[in-house]
Amino acid sequence: MQFLAPMTVDEALGALSEREDGLRVLAGGTDVMIQRMTGQLPRSESLLYIGGITDLSGVHLSDGTICIGALTTHHDLRCNPVIGTDLPSFAEAAATVGGWQTQAVGTIGGNLCNASPAADLAPPLLAADATLVVSGEDGPQRIPANRFFLGRRRTALPVGQILLKIEVPVPPAATWESYLKVGRRSAMEVALVGLAARFSLAGGLVETARLAVCSVAPVPLRLAHAEAALVGSTLDQGAVAIAAQRSMEEIDPIDDQRATASYRRMLVGRLLGKAARLAREGLEIQ
């Protein structure tokens, strides 16, 4: 195997284009290295370490858009003041990834491109209607978040390209968002269920509702029918009950070593109820 460590995006893309047999992109390594160790990825596979490309990390706010570099670590997302103020669900999700060591090296780009059904950053991304900017054949190309995840460990990122950044519009005023995750323990957990919720109010009523979940289907997904039940409501019990019921119909959870499908189904409805409760407090809905 070879280990390549380009210092620029162009070098990285050059390396990718030269090799037909593929090159595994390595960022923080918190997934790739484990998959190699456990034999899910061949150990003979060469690695393209992009962690040395400095201009792919960091958070920038310009023209009403928040740009998150693909190599921004979970630790930096957790601590960034722009994220903390405008996209708290991203900060909350980053704070639940593994433990402090994982957060110190793991990146948002890695979390998304690895496309685990349990990716913690995926629900906030989907709920925020974010856009993924990839290197592209002839310059950067944009992929909407809801078209990015194609299946377990499969994304719309074209072969030979890399993810550059994530763009998220600054949410409107009177918006509340959060990421709620259930694991068996308080840290070091793969989500049994993760739910990102975002509610924007207009005239005291919910104008937009965004609900996205992970660990309940082969891909992270939006709960469109549940969202629809909440639009125009005050997140009152009646509307939330309908949304919770719909949410459980929109998902396709499985039994595995971590939890049963039936528990995951229960959790989605309850997390939705919890999000509504917290949002009513946060938005001071009477």
């Binding site: 259930v182 070593q257 039936s262 229960m266 109820g273």
Partner: protein, 761 residues
């Protein structure tokens, strides 16, 4: 000032914190080879092809070993049911089939990967129910012909049962007839992995006659006799040297990889090292056995327990290991702590196509206590009596006897423990509020009585060396307990005492770090050695000081004349003088705990007959349950533990905090479940060990009742704090939610459903 008491740091702390301590996996020798095992990928089947010819030709390979090169006879701890390598049949996933020895671990693994292995797979017998079915395939058709440990008395075994204990004193059925209510419960618990930090390893060399093994093991003398047994040679041809140990918790009491390293060394004539990777360690280690427990009790409406039946099916896995002994544990728990009337007990160690199970801190006691104390809550509920009041009404008193006929002379300590818990956490106020609850549980536990020895020698610089095969498993029993006891015997500071690593060639027997025995037993051996050594020391000092030996005493590293403290001679001078006279100033002491009386007719199959030097324990936990996900948060944890006397409070407190954390893991997150005979959780990432963020600071109440036959009054302390933890947490969760918790780890889904049911009701 005595070295026994607080503020004595452990002697290995600095080296361990700085990374200077060498563990078994760190051991290296020049020219050392590395081995890897081929383990069975399936739980059960017949080996139809084993072709190692390619493996032999892989570069760097020195030897490929299969059953053909290994001794044919079976070996075992007490029942000799285990082949060296599986050959015709494989009985569990992870069972060793072959081994490759090569220049590097990678070469060895590459060669293992080339071995042609074909197995005709059988439907595994994956649980005790399948194993005990009338037409079940027998894992050991030749069970009756297997040898047992010389000196062990035989015990009942048949079919897929490696051991059966039965106790029926008569009068049980009649006693049930006097009950107003009869309550029956069934409990199930999974396996628990010891999850020590250092994976198992062994390094062996061979000089043409004798083998030397370098290990991190709780019981070097057991390694010696078990490797000898497996190889079919006499004990003295094996030397075992101990190194720092990255945790054991019972998993390093029987053989791990030592016999394989040994045969690799004798076949190649080179030093051979074998180290488990984490997944093979997890799937092949003797973890705590899974079990199914049935308890049925009769109770009167006044709140007396009048009769009991108890049945326990322990899944011993493919080979019996020490579960044959563990079937005796119910005899010390089912009719202790509370008076329960005539009691019938059955316990079986059952063979299944799973990895052999075995010793884990609080052997079998964790789940027996869980079953009994959940059942105790259910009895109180059945008659509408307060749970604490019900316990106190049936509580053991001094002079009461356990089911084995052993009398507990000091069982009144239980009442004291309940009272002391009440002082800090009043029952009437505990666990109040929505989705909050409180649980209570009590137990007794033993101090393992097996023999130990120590050799003391005064060094020429006046310090004291302690040579013992006792092992420091991380608890501090050697680096604090034994060292402090030795220092106190000679009026030295603990810093002036060093303890050597175990070496079976040069030290007396020691039965290993198990059952909280080290501080107690080896401490007594140190005292016995000191008793011999002091007169000789005073004799020499007597000449140097011109005073009678009887007028001398030890103080601050010197010998002085009692009535004239100005006349002193340093221990260094005394020791140098002794060297000049032709020998070191040294003596060896040994000790084993005198066994209390028991009734040999109390049970059939009672291989482990008594609970010597018992200690008493009451735990209380308060929990809060999350209404959205059913997760259990332990908000308060109180332990009242009787220890005899604390040699080092930091050590005792640390063991209690750690035992509670390990018990919380068992109660809430851990557990090895099998599917088709294979463990489903196979890494520490998915296993679910307790985390610092989830474990509360334990409130600790120490009860000291110095033990007359104990070093400075000390009894065993380290093992038992794990025993009642699952019981109290389960009782608290049941109190908080109404869920009748009958299995571990506590299932948040079950908890949520119970919360819903209670709301609807």
């Amino acid at each position: 000032m005595t070295a026994v008491g607080p503020d004595t740091p452990r002697s290995d702390a600095d080296a361990k914190v700085r990374g200077l301590a060498n563990y078994g996996v760190d051991y290296r020798e020049a020219g050392m080879l590395h081995a890897r095992l081929l383990r069975s990928p399936v739980a059960a089947g017949r080996v139809t092809r084993l072709d190692v010819s390619t493996a032999r030709s892989v570069p760097g390979v020195h030897a490929v070993v299969t059953a053909e090169q290994a001794p044919e006879h079976r070996n075992g701890l007490v029942l000799f049911d285990t082949p060296f390598f599986a050959s015709d049949t494989v009985l569990y996933e992870g069972e060793p089939i072959a081994m490759v020895v090569a220049d590097t671990p990678r070469q060895a693994q590459s060669a293992v990967d080339t071995i042609g292995l074909e197995i005709e797979e059988w439907e595994p017998i994956s649980n005790v129910t399948e194993a005990l079915a009338p037409d079940a395939r027998l894992l050991h058709p030749d069970l009756d012909s297997y040898q047992i440990l010389p000196g062990a008395s035989s015990w009942p075994k048949s079919g897929n049962c490696g051991g059966v204990l039965t106790s029926d004193p008569g009068g049980v059925d009649e006693a049930f007839e006097t009950a107003d209510f009869i309550v029956e419960d069934t409990f199930t618990v999974p396996r628990q992995y010891q999850a020590y930090l250092e994976p198992k390893s062994a390094t062996a060399s061979y000089d043409g006659w004798r083998w030397t093994l370098h290990v991190s093991h709780q019981f070097p003398f057991q390694v010696r006799s078990r490797v000898a047994q497996a190889l079919g040679v006499t004990d003295s041809r094996i030397r075992v040297v101990g190194h720092h140990m990255g945790g054991g918790f019972g998993a390093r009491l029987d053989l791990g990889l030592e016999q394989y390293a040994a045969i690799g060394a004798s076949l190649t004539g080179r030093t051979v090292q074998l180290v488990n990777d984490r997944t093979e360690d997890l799937i092949s280690t003797m973890s705590r056995e899974n079990a199914t427990i049935k308890v049925r009790s009769g109770v009167t409406k006044e709140g007396r327990i009048v009769a009991r039946e108890f049945e326990c099916l322990m899944d011993g896995g493919a080979y019996a290991g020490d579960t044959v002994y563990l079937t005796s544990i119910p005899m010390f728990m089912v009719g202790s702590v509370y008076r329960v009337g005539p009691t019938r007990v059955t316990a079986k160690s059952v063979y299944t196509n799973t990895a052999p199970s075995g010793a884990f801190r609080g052997v079998s006691g964790t789940y027996i206590c869980f079953a009994l104390e959940r059942h105790t809550d259910r009895l109180a509920e059945a008659i509408g009596m307060d749970r604490r009041e019900f316990r106190l009404r049936n509580l053991f008193e001094s002079g009461d006897s356990m089911l084995n006929g052993q009398t507990l002379e000091d069982a009144d300590i239980l009442r004291e423990a309940f009272d002391r818990v009440e002082e800090v956490a009043p029952w009437s106020e505990a666990g109040k509020g929505s989705l909050k609850g409180v649980g209570l549980a009590a137990t007794i536990w033993l101090t393992n009585p097996l023999a130990g020895s120590a050799t003391l020698s005064i060094q020429q610089d006046g310090s004291l060396g302690v040579s013992t095969a006792a092992t420091e498993n991380g608890s501090g029993a050697v680096t604090m307990g034994v060292r402090q006891i030795a220092a106190a015997q000679f009026g030295l500071a603990a810093e002036q005492v060093f303890v050597t690593a175990p070496d079976t060639d040069t030290q007396g027997y020691d039965a290993g770090s198990q059952g909280s025995r080290t501080t107690h037993v080896v401490g007594m051996a140190v005292q016995a050695a000191a008793k011999q050594l002091k007169p000789r020391l005073f004799n020499i000092a007597s000449g140097l000081l011109g005073a009678l030996p009887d007028d001398l005493e030890l103080s601050g590293g010197s010998v002085c004349v009692r009535d004239d403290p100005s006349r002193t001679v340093s221990l260094a001078t005394v020791a140098r003088t002794a060297f000049g006279l032709g020998g070191p100033l040294s003596a060896t002491g040994a000790y084993n705990v005198p066994l209390p009386k028991w009734d040999p007719d109390s049970a059939e199959g009672l291989l482990f007959p008594v609970f010597p030097v018992p200690t008493y324990h009451v735990h209380l936990a308060e929990v809060e349950v999350d209404p959205d996900d059913g997760a259990v948060r332990v908000t308060r944890y109180v332990v009242a533990q009787e220890v005899g006397r604390m040699i080092n409070p930091d050590g005792v407190y640390g063991q209690i905090q750690g035992g509670v954390a390990q018990g919380m893991g068992y109660a809430l997150w851990e557990g090895l479940e099998t599917k088709d005979g294979r463990y489903t959780r196979r890494t520490l990432e998915s296993y679910g060990l307790p985390l610092a963020v989830d474990v509360p600071d334990v409130e600790i109440i120490i009860l000291e009742h110095p033990c007359e036959a104990g070093p400075y009054g000390a009894k065993g302390a380290a093992e038992p704090p794990i025993v009642p933890v699952a019981a109290v947490i389960a009782n608290a969760v049941s109190d908080a939610t109404g869920a009748n918790i009958t299995s571990l780890p506590i299932d948040p889904e079950e908890v949520l459903l119970a919360i819903d049911k209670r709301r609807e009701g």
